[in-house]
């Protein structure tokens, strides 16, 4: 990221009261510089102007700085407070008034400035399964710790449910049981090796993570991957989205004991996983997307791929009609886990969770990257904000993904070209990369120094959306828990990292 010396004027859509220097504008990004003591005020002004909080991080390049990242009208707005070598950042300063920033900021403070945590309360990033503190009191109220050992084959996360038996009076989501320290593992690795780690941050969204990371490295080192590579990235990413959405729908069917429906959607998912294995050798599309492009063409013929997509779509259309026509299924989803639009905005939620509450946010549309600049996208939204709306959004996206896949295959058929471009092996730079993972917008900050990753920060959709889960039971009872959890469709691995 090159930073111009002379400040430039603020773009019109930013409030005039914002007291910052505009450093760069354009290319989907807007960089604003602010003094450390004006950081909180500027962040508040941005938030009041409708900017959606994305993440907060400590950067080391181009100089040491505290950065808060927002999204405003699709652009990334980076608020940067440069710090001296030993200067401590103004933390915590956001979480107290901005719910969306609470976890991200807390994580940063606990990692780098644990002494500021004081004596108060528990650690977010060092959870203890046996430590419970219910806050609701009253007749027959009890606390139900659910997890980290779940019932069934699920990832580790804990929920502390306080209930009077039926109503969920208070819910507390406790992530970070599976914090593996993967951001730290990236440090010192060459980008093409670091991508192995990135693919395993959230294994069910490997392609989205590899794409966002590769894009960050490419932008940092000023490399543009070839068009054919971008097409293949879109193909692998859309297949990944289909698999993730089918997984959510199969789990919803399982929860209502609609076993034939569950079996049908599981089969469609298995079919998708096999298409991915035939294309890449990996059922999760790993090992293809690398900084600079993709490693190889899909290993399955394009006609064969189209044939498989046809059969998938045919089956999906029938099963969708049956699913949506089964009252025992839809009755449980309609009205469950209703999220008001205003609440969703305050928490900066992304992905199907936000789109289910009528917010049309999708990184593929807001900041089109790679092939999405050419493909065009119809963003699926629903207004009701309940579990049904989130499932409907996914059905809409399944159809849209299949359309994108056909279009990409058509493009791939028409033109040949390079798959990968070399990038400078000893280059330096820093940049954001992003992608729309099946769970929502993913943003990765990467600093590369002399060809090695020096720092990385992952703003995962799962962590951001999970903060909202505590509020997803406005008038729901304990037995709705599984429906609402599945409708979020998140992965603890992505949140915990």
């Amino acid at each position: 990221m090159s930073v111009t010396e002379e400040p430039i004027g603020l773009p019109d859509h930013l409030p005039e009261t914002l007291d910052v220097d505009c450093e760069t504008s354009g290319n989907d990004e807007l960089w604003l510089r602010v003094a450390a003591d004006g950081f909180e005020k500027a962040a508040r002004t941005l938030s009041d102007a409708g900017a959606r909080f994305v993440t907060v991080l400590l950067a080391g390049s181009p100089e040491r700085a505290l950065m808060a990242v927002f999204a405003l009208r699709g652009d990334l707005v980076v608020l940067r407070a440069p710090l001296g070598a030993d200067e401590a950042p103004p933390l915590p300063s956001l979480g107290a008034w901005l719910p969306a920033a609470r976890w991200a900021e807390r994580e940063l403070v606990e990692r780098f400035y644990p002494e500021r945590m004081g004596q108060s309360g528990r650690w977010l990033t060092r959870p203890d399964a046996s430590q419970l503190d219910g806050r609701v009191t009253g007749l027959d109220v009890f606390s139900l710790p659910f997890g980290p050992v779940r019932s069934g084959v699920f990832e580790a996360i804990q929920f502390l449910i306080e209930t009077g038996g039926e109503d969920v009076l208070r819910l507390e989501t406790r992530p970070f049981f599976k914090h593996r320290g993967l951001e730290a593992r990236l440090v010192g690795l060459a980008p093409e090796r670091a991508v192995h780690v990135v693919e395993r941050i959230a294994g069910i969204a490997s392609v989205a993570y590899a794409s966002a990371f590769s894009q960050a490295v490419e932008r940092a080192l000023n490399v543009e991957p070839p068009a054919r590579a971008q097409r293949w990235r879109a193909v692998h990413a859309e297949l990944e989205r289909i698999a993730c959405h089918l997984d959510v729908i199969a789990k919803e069917a399982e929860t209502t004991a609609l076993y034939v429906g569950q079996a049908r959607f599981q089969l469609l998912k298995e079919q998708t996983m096999r298409i991915r294995a035939a294309l890449t050798g990996s059922r999760f599309g790993r090992g293809v997307v690398v900084p600079g492009g993709v490693r190889f063409d899909g290993r399955m013929g394009l006609d064969d791929l189209l044939g498989q997509l046809d059969s998938l779509e045919r089956d999906l259309r029938r099963d969708r009609r049956l699913f949506l026509g089964t009252a025992s299924m839809t009755d449980r989803l309609i009205g469950a886990g209703q999220l008001e639009r205003e609440l969703v905005e305050r928490y900066g939620a992304v992905g199907p969770v936000a789109r289910g509450s009528g917010i049309s946010t999708d990184a593929r549309h807001e900041r089109p990257y790679g092939d999405y600049r050419r493909l065009g996208l119809r963003v699926s939204t629903a207004r009701d904000g309940d579990a049904m709306a989130r499932v409907n959004v996914r059905f809409g996206e399944l159809a849209e993904s299949l359309r994108i896949l056909r279009q990409s295959v058509d493009h791939l058929r028409r033109r040949d070209g390079a798959l990968i471009v070399p990038y400078p092996r000893d280059g330096s730079g820093a940049a954001f990369g992003w992608s729309e993972a099946p769970q929502g917008e993913l943003v990765i900050w990467v600093e590369v120094h002399n060809g090695l990753v020096q720092r990385a920060h992952v703003a995962s959709p799962s962590l951001r959306n999970w903060a909202l889960f505590d509020h997803a039971f406005p008038k729901d009872v304990l037995t709705d828990f599984a429906f609402i959890e599945h409708s979020f469709g998140l992965t603890p691995a992505g949140a915990d990292r």
Binding site: G152, R185, G203, A263, G281, R283, R299
Partner: protein, 255 residues
């Protein structure tokens, strides 16, 4: 509802006959790593591997499948030496048996089938995630889909560890999951078996060596069956489960 049932029936039988009939991956599948040529290796060869799965001693190569994350860096660097297998099966009954070309030690316990023969046809399985990337859970769940239908072999999922015969562990055991893992294992009745699913569970994988991950389940509890892979395919996991109860032996023959 009738329409659902008809829809199910219309598809016909799709379930695999594994292990009574073999399952082979499609060409190009990234299966377990195999060593084509173990001799005369240059001493810098181990550097191609991001997890230290490749070691060279006096020019002789050892490959530890328990560390291999199937990234393919070695296959691209030395295609005459390394390749991906055309078989799914790679589970082993001891950690050292995962090292290609090394002597394998005896398993920690006899298989469940030897301890209680009656168990063989009704085995209850419990899963615990101790820090996986989430993909292992998908592949375990897939075993209960109509294609693999593991219930036909007598495996059932149970929610309570007190009812479980087999504990499937994914992930390399993070600090926060260590106590829940020990407690889950402790309350399971004897005889019981512990199966490590995935390279992370076998050795910690890419997360090993950091402050957060123990570096494999066997750093915490004794493991009966190791199933390497990042993630292992459903058939690979199925083979490991069948080995844990003694329905197949490590050579893949149906007992």
């Amino acid at each position: 509802m009738l329409e659902w049932i008809l829809r199910g029936l219309a598809k016909g039988r799709i379930t695999t006959r594994y292990p009574h009939a073999p399952e082979r991956p499609a060409p190009g599948f990234v299966g377990p790593l195999v060593l084509l040529d173990p001799d005369d290796a240059p001493s810098q060869l181990p550097a191609v591997c991001p997890t230290g799965a490749i070691t060279v001693e006096d020019g002789h190569v050892n490959v530890d499948r328990g560390r291999c994350i199937l990234c393919g860096d070695c296959v691209r660097a030395a295609p005459d030496r390394f390749a991906f297998s055309e078989r799914y099966e790679s589970a082993a009954r001891s950690r050292s048996a995962l090292v290609l070309g090394a002597e394998s030690e005896a398993p920690v316990r006899p298989v469940l089938g030897e301890q209680a023969g009656a168990l063989r046809r009704s085995v209850h399985v419990r899963h615990i995630d101790c820090g996986s990337d989430g993909s292992e859970e998908w592949e375990i769940q897939a075993l209960w889909n109509p294609y693999y239908d593991i219930q036909r072999l007598g495996f059932f999922l149970t929610a309570a560890p007190r009812h479980a015969d087999i504990l499937l562990v994914t992930g390399g055991v993070t600090t926060a999951m260590r106590a829940p893992l020990e407690r889950t294992w402790e309350v399971m009745p004897e005889p019981k078996a512990l199966v490590a699913v995935g390279t992370d569970a076998c050795s910690g994988g890419l997360a090993a060596g950091g402050d957060e991950v123990a570096g494999g389940v066997d750093q915490v509890l004794p493991v009966d069956v190791y199933i390497p892979g990042s993630p292992p395919a459903p058939v690979t996991i199925l083979d490991g489960l069948l080995q844990a109860v003694g329905l197949v032996n490590p050579q893949g023959a149906v007992a």
